[in-house]
Subunit: 206 residues, 2 copies
């Protein structure tokens, strides 16, 4: 693509480095910004720069934070004796959006994936064990994706946690609420039959 | 959505103001930037801010420019006596990408569209007439979209240009090269039959 301006070319190149953004989309976004008031583009640019420069990670749960502790770890309203283990920030937000968990988190920063060269040492596992030693923890809930890598990580973690004599659970698996039985894959359906739950547990409303 | 950090929330909000970017996509992009080296996010933020602050518009053709004149108007390789009238910057780039036009441009900054409240006074029409008075121009090519608004604008401009005794042309209309006849809409096909062209003109290779 020939650009009439070096400045536009730079901006388009930066946008097109983002995942899922090609040159054409990048150009559309840049031209949009160009039509907006100058103030708005300034804000946009600054928000990005500031976000990356000032962001910190919670020293307790490794979630992103504005201070030494994240909002969740720092809140006295949260049950510090329930730790939900998640892969990353996005999963923290997914669990938070359910409004059905009032404990705290531990962000692993990934899951064990030999194919991608990620072993247990790359993850925040040591600091989880450290938390269990120093804090009073009642339950650790594994909220990891039900994939091969997620299951491997759960297995590894449960072995590491066994000496602590803490209740270790994992989020339940089965057919999606609102999903149609006939479109559910066989593996999920088979496991849902084997791991059937007492009817009363379905009465919790989300 | 609950954000664990004010900085992330700000960045997500800024991204989600862009056209076609929702909150979820914005979050995905922000988290991507967070995983990149700090330098890259800084570059991204700066490119946007600088683009908007330093961008100028060519005083001759109103295209975006890094200096007083844009690259095209300032080039001695371009034929200054051929003016291609386009709606906006994106159309300049579209024509440039064909590599089949060696003249200069005139960017109207829109097309006449009463529905959107855009009349001739909102467009760079006066300055086009001024160019025709002061420069030696051989031909004006209308490269506007073949829509109701585009046709209105061409009609208006051709009336304004008639006193100058300059050749006024418009880009040709017909079926797309590589398109299938049976999928061409009736209006385009009907006009293509009426406005049929000498066979030799098809031998130009793009």
């Amino acid at each position: 693509m020939n650009f009439p301006s070096r400045l536009i070319e730079d901006a388009v190149n930066e946008f097109s480095r983002l995942p899922g953004v090609g040159k054409k989309t990048a150009l559309r976004l840049v031209l949009h910004l160009l039509r907006q008031p100058q103030e708005q583009s300034r804000q946009f640019g600054e928000a990005i720069t500031r976000m990356r420069n000032e962001i910190r990670f919670c020293k307790q749960c490794h979630n992103v934070a504005d201070a030494e502790l994240c909002n969740i770890c720092g809140s006295h309203k949260r049950d510090q004796s329930m730790i939900c283990v998640v892969e990353n920030l996005r999963d923290v937000m997914a669990v938070e959006n359910t409004n059905h968990f009032n404990g705290v988190y531990h962000v692993l920063g990934g899951i064990i994936s030999p194919m991608d060269g990620i072993g247990p040492d790359e993850l925040q596992i040591e600091s989880l064990l450290e938390r269990l030693k120093t804090q009073e923890v009642r339950e650790v809930i594994m909220a990891l994706s039900p994939t091969m890598e997620g299951d491997t990580t759960i297995f590894y973690l449960s072995r590491k946690l066994s000496p602590f004599n803490i209740k270790v659970t994992a989020i339940s698996r089965g057919i999606s609420v609102g999903g149609e039985l006939e479109y559910t894959d066989e593996i999920t359906l088979a496991r849902a039959i084997v791991n059937r739950m007492p009817y009363e547990s379905f009465l919790v409303r989300g």
